[in-house]
Structures are given as structure tokens and as C-alpha cells.
């Protein structure tokens, strides 16, 4: 393990700061530009029966009497103190509600990630070893279908089949109304099954395509031929030697795909009414709930970048040739 890994991690984490500032600033100024400098006017136009108290609270929160850059800096200053303001929709402080949404998103994504990686490895090995066989053809076909089908559509088909026709799984939500964690773990898992399957299937398509083509190349390489000539058991050749070299680019890719998947949460979560950041983001956008919109853009950006860093660190552990710089 290289000694300077922590320095590297800290540098990467610090690098997040300018990126997040850039992203939130662009979002912030877009809201203002689109609103003609007055987001409250849009909110009022959207909901004319909004209580005056809420409007006043919003004006006070956004400090609309000050110049826009000052307002942005003020927002940023509050975010540093984990104060995201008050939701226009519910009147509650955003920081009170946002963490449970974030957690709901994270456990769905992580569950799907684990499932897809666990399945991708044996499936890719199978396809690569029997290259151009019927099995390989089916696997590559299913994979390319997985990345070509809209995730929400796959979700809808599963809902129609498993929830409406067979009636074995719930159509949406993260748990039943009366379910209590952890006693109703079965209920939670039943709700998790379909959304996790949809996300895992999409990721699986990406991973299998990449891993399979890497493995095909490696199985033709000299060192694998040498191992086979020496009579090394096939299982060890494949899983100990070939897979190790094939997995490294996949690891980077897992990080990118996790980021994409989290950023794509509005689509998957809306399909399943999954009460996470994505679902709430769509609701907040529909209602033009600016504090919530900004908070979710902020959180999702941070989560995407942190997942990339985690994967980069993993990369160093898996491939000893990689040196951090």
C-alpha cells in the first residue's frame, strides 16, 4: 500500500469543493436567470394561494434585497453549516427531511450495485470462455438490450408483471405504511426487489459488455496460454489470474456507473415512487421548491464525486501497479 494514499485522498476530496461550487453556482444563477431575477414570482405564479407568511419566509431566506452573487454566497455559507433553508412545499427545514431521502437512495443504489457486480463476474467469465457460442450470444444480446432499454420502461414492465398480474410484489414505495424496521425486514426487501432489479440490470449490461471483451482479449494472451500449457487448473487460471487483469478497468467503470446511476435516480425512483432524493427532486421541481432543489443538486453532486473517489482508492488496492500521483 503506498504511503501517500491519504495525501491523495485529501487532495481528491479538496478537489470536490471547486466542482461543487461550480455546479451549485450554475444551478443557482440559472434559477435566477430563468425567474427574471425573482424566483418568488415564479413560486407565486405557480401557487397563487401561497400564504403570505411563506412568501415572506422565502424572501427572507433568499435575501432577495441583496445582489444575486451575495445571495449565492449566503446560501453557500448556510450549506457549510448544513442549513439548507426551509422547504416551500412542506414548510419544514430541508436539513430535517433530506437525510432520510439520501439514505433511501443510497441503500437502493448500493444494494443494486452489489447484486450487479456479483452477477457480472460469473456471467462474463461464462460468456468469454464460450466465445461465439449460443450462450455467449444470448448473454451479449441481453446485455446490449439492458443498456438500450429505458430503465423506467423495464421497471414498468416488471410492475405490470409482478405487481399487477402476479400480485407477488408491491408496485411502489420503500415499505408498507405500518412496517417497522427491522421487524418487517421481509416487507422492506419485497419493496426493494423490483427497483433494485431494474438498476442492477442496467448496470449489469454495462459491466458484462466491458468485462467480457476484456476477458476475451486476456484469454488469448501469452500468459494465459502459458498457464494452460503448464496444466494449471482452469478455475485458478480464470479466477486468480485472468480475472485480476480484467477487473481493473471495470472497477473504474463501476465508479462512473454508480455516479450515473445516482444522478439518474429521478427516473428509477419516480417509476417506483421510491421516496429517495430523485423522487423528491422531481416533486420539488414540479412545485418549484427552490431550497429543496438546490439541496438535492448539492447532495447528489457530492455523492457522485465521493463514489468516484472511493472507487479510485479501491483501484489502488486491487492493482498494485497503480501509483497515486
Amino acid at each position: 500500500m503506498p504511503m501517500n494514499i491519504w495525501g491523495y485522498v485529501v487532495r481528491r476530496l479538496l478537489y470536490i469543493i471547486p466542482m461543487v461550487i461550480g455546479i451549485t453556482a450554475i444551478t443557482f444563477f440559472t434559477v435566477f436567470a430563468a425567474a427574471g431575477g425573482n424566483p418568488v414570482a415564479i413560486v407565486e405564479a405557480n401557487d397563487p394561494e401561497l400564504p403570505q407568511a411563506t412568501v415572506n419566509a422565502l424572501i427572507a431566506y433568499l435575501q432577495l434585497d441583496k445582489p444575486v452573487p451575495i445571495q449565492y454566497l449566503n446560501w453557500l455559507w448556510n450549506v457549510v453549516h448544513l442549513n439548507f433553508g426551509v422547504s416551500i412545499q412542506s414548510g419544514r427545514p430541508v436539513s430535517d427531511i433530506i437525510w432520510s431521502w439520501a439514505w433511501t437512495t443510497v441503500y437502493l443504489q448500493l444494494f443494486a450495485l452489489v447484486v450487479s457486480v456479483a452477477l457480472a463476474i460469473p456471467i462474463s467469465v461464462y460468456a468469454a470462455r464460450r466465445r461465439n457460442s449460443a450462450g455467449d450470444f444470448v448473454i451479449t444480446g441481453i446485455s446490449v438490450f439492458g443498456i438500450s432499454a429505458p430503465v423506467f420502461w423495464v421497471g414498468e414492465m416488471l410492475i405490470i408483471l409482478f405487481a399487477y398480474d402476479l400480485g407477488v410484489l408491491p408496485a411502489g414505495g420503500a415499505h408498507s405504511l405500518n412496517a417497522v424496521w427491522p421487524w418487517s425486514i421481509g416487507d422492506y426487501l419485497a419493496h426493494l426487489a423490483l427497483p433494485a432489479a431494474v438498476i442492477a440490470y442496467f448496470n449489469l449490461g454495462l459491466y458484462v459488455r466491458l468485462l467480457r471483451s476484456r476477458l476475451v482479449e486476456i484469454f488469448q494472451s501469452d500468459y494465459v496460454m502459458a498457464l494452460r500449457a503448464m496444466g494449471t487448473p482452469e478455475r485458478i487460471t480464470v479466477y486468480k489470474h485472468a480475472l485480476r487483469n480484467a477487473i481493473t478497468p471495470v472497477v473504474t467503470f463501476v465508479g462512473l456507473a454508480l455516479g450515473t446511476s445516482i444522478a439518474g435516480a429521478p427516473v428509477t425512483e419516480t417509476t417506483f415512487s421510491w421516496p429517495g432524493l430523485g423522487y423528491e427532486f422531481v416533486r420539488a421541481i414540479t412545485n418549484l421548491d427552490f431550497p429543496v432543489i438546490l439541496a438535492i443538486v448539492f447532495l447528489i453532486s457530492v455523492m457522485t464525486m465521493v463514489s468516484n473517489i472511493v472507487v479510485d482508492i479501491l483501484y489502488v488496492y486491487i492493482d498494485p501497479r497503480v501509483r497515486v500521483s
Binding site: 466542482m19 461550480g22 455546479i23 450554475i26 444551478t27 440559472t30 434559477v31 430563468a34 425567474a35 415564479i42 446490449v144 438490450f145 443498456i147 438500450s148 432499454a149 429505458p150 430503465v151 423506467f152 420502461w153 414498468e156 414492465m157 410492475i159 405490470i160 399487477y164 455516479g259 444522478a263 439518474g264 429521478p266 427516473v267 419516480t270 427532486f281 422531481v282 421541481i285 414540479t286 418549484l288 432543489i293 438535492i296 443538486v297 447528489i300 453532486s301 457522485t304 464525486m305 468516484n308
Partner: protein, 306 residues
């Protein structure tokens, strides 16, 4: 016989690629699907058997909101091969009309994104130094940018104010602006690779101008990569556009496959066909571009020897 000259030109790069492409099952399947879908998309609005104007989604004279306005959705009726929706839309006509719009937005956004990507990639890779650093920082920002969130925000704020043609341009631009970054980075890498080759060095020594090196030598050599990336970018652009409309962020004045699925999402327990058929159309369209991209990638990859 001995005097007959063997006329055999060395195969051009294009001929080699074409020969390889003809042997790629994925590529040929993709091309076939694409030709079919292009014809359908081009003719769609003309051959649609029923009117699908957004205003007619509800049948005439039935404007009250109570469930009584719901038409019983139909399936198993050859007059409506893909069924009808509770709103009275013939799904087959809807799909035909939507494909036209989806194809224009998907291809348009991808071409726009690729133009940006080529520009940034070429300039960044060729000039290097400060230009490269600045452009790559901007590129990184766009790569990590939560594009879908921002697209939703923009659509919500602006889409409702636009006319039909403006809406199409609007989606082309916003999807394009958030799809170029990864491609720009890949093209830059390719430019750097080509730039370090010996023949560029000798061309420089011969006194070739910058524009000659860029347009005569570097661009043709990165073109293979550009063609492959374009195909994949069309696929992702279509998926993004359909997702935006599915989430209800269409402008309401153009019909898209995602819009049909959005409008009928609440009723999918009684009319699965209004989700199934538009979805399958999206899959075929996207699959065509992905398979074509796979085929092109194999055909144009110089590392894969025959």
C-alpha cells in the same frame, strides 16, 4: 497467363473497414434496424391512421375531469393495432408521430454534442498547455455535472413558454450541451496519440501549417473514433430525451414516446399496451444505434487484426 498483370491496389482504409463491417453481425443488424426505423420515423406523421394532436388526446366534447370522460381503453382490435388509451389516443398513430420527433431530437442533440466535443477535443489536444488545462477543467465540470437534474430544472423553467419547433430546438440544445464532455475527453486522448506519431513530426519538419496538420492529418485519423462515439451518443441522447418526457417535463405541445408513457403511466394496470409499444419502439431505436456503434467500433479499430 504469365503476362497478365495482377491488378491489386492496396486496400484503402475505408475498404478494409467496410469489409470488416460487412462481417459484423451486430453492425449489420443495427444498420438494418436503423434503416427500418428511419423510414418509419420519416413517414410516421404521414402514415399515422388517426389524428394525434395534443388537443385531441381527449376526445372532443369531453372536458370534465370526472372519471366519466375516460374512454374504455381497447386492445385486440385491428383498427387499433397497438390499442387505445383512456385518453382516446390511438397508440399506433402516437408511436408513428413520436418516432419522428424522437429521431430528430436524438440525432440533433448527438450531432450538436459531437460538434462541441470535436472542437474542444481538437483544440485542447492540439494546443496543450494553458488552453488544454482550462478546457479540461471545464470538461471535468461537465462530466461530474448532475446533467439529468439540471435538464429537469431547465425544462420546468423554460419548456412551457416555447412553440413546437422551438421546443425541439430547445431539447436538442440542452441535451447536446450535457453530452459532449466525455466524448471531448476521449477525442482529446486520440488527438494526443496521433500527434505524437512520427508522420506528424515529419510533416512539421517539412513546414506544414497548423491548419494543414489539424485538418489534413489529425482530424481524419480521429474520425474513426468520432463515428463510433456519434452512434453511441445518439443512443444515450434518445434515452435522455425519453426519460425527460416520461418524468412529465415535456412541453405539452409535442408528442414523444416518453410523453405517451408519461400520460398513461397512472393507468398502466388497465392498459399495459400504452406502455409496452412505445417502450419497445424506444428499445429498437436505441438498440439500432448501440449495435451500429459496436459494429463500427470493431470495423474501425486498427488494433483488431483480421
Amino acid at each position: 497467363m504469365a503476362t497478365q498483370t495482377v491488378r491489386r491496389r492496396s486496400a484503402s482504409q475505408f475498404a478494409v473497414a467496410l469489409r470488416r463491417f460487412r462481417r459484423s453481425k451486430a453492425g449489420l443488424t443495427g444498420l438494418g434496424m436503423l434503416v427500418f426505423m428511419s423510414i418509419v420515423a420519416a413517414l410516421g406523421p404521414r402514415i399515422a391512421p388517426y389524428n394525434v394532436n395534443s388537443n385531441n388526446l381527449l376526445l372532443e366534447g369531453e372536458t370534465d375531469i370526472a372519471p366519466t370522460w375516460l374512454k374504455p381503453p381497447l386492445f385486440h382490435n385491428w383498427a387499433f393495432p397497438f390499442g387505445t388509451t383512456v385518453g382516446g389516443l390511438d397508440v399506433f398513430s402516437g408511436v408513428l408521430v413520436s418516432l419522428h420527433v424522437d429521431m430528430i431530437i436524438g440525432v440533433g442533440a448527438a450531432l450538436f454534442a459531437m460538434a462541441l466535443a470535436i472542437l474542444v477535443g481538437l483544440v485542447s489536444g492540439f494546443y496543450g498547455r494553458v488552453v488544454d488545462t482550462v478546457l479540461m477543467r471545464i470538461t471535468e465540470l461537465f462530466i461530474v455535472f448532475p446533467a439529468l437534474l439540471f435538464l429537469l430544472l431547465l425544462s420546468r423553467l423554460l419548456a412551457g413558454r416555447l412553440t413546437g419547433v422551438e421546443t425541439i430546438l430547445f431539447y436538442i440544445i440542452i441535451i447536446g450541451v450535457f453530452s459532449w464532455a466525455t466524448n471531448a475527453r476521449l477525442i482529446r486522448g486520440e488527438v494526443l496519440r496521433v500527434k505524437s506519431l512520427e508522420f506528424i513530426e515529419s510533416e512539421k519538419a517539412l513546414g506544414a501549417s497548423t491548419s494543414r496538420i489539424v485538418f489534413r492529418h489529425i482530424l481524419p485519423n480521429v474520425l474513426a473514433q468520432v463515428v463510433v462515439l456519434t452512434s453511441f451518443t445518439v443512443a444515450t441522447s434518445i434515452l435522455t430525451e425519453v426519460a425527460l418526457f416520461f418524468l412529465g417535463f415535456g412541453s405539452g405541445n409535442i408528442l414523444s414516446l416518453g410523453e405517451i408513457m408519461y400520460l398513461n403511466f397512472p393507468y398502466m394496470d388497465v392498459e399495459w399496451w400504452s406502455e409496452l409499444f412505445p417502450g419497445i419502439s424506444v428499445v429498437i431505436l436505441v438498440l439500432a444505434f448501440n449495435l451500429l456503434g459496436d459494429g463500427l467500433s470493431d470495423a474501425l479499430n486498427p488494433k483488431l487484426r483480421e
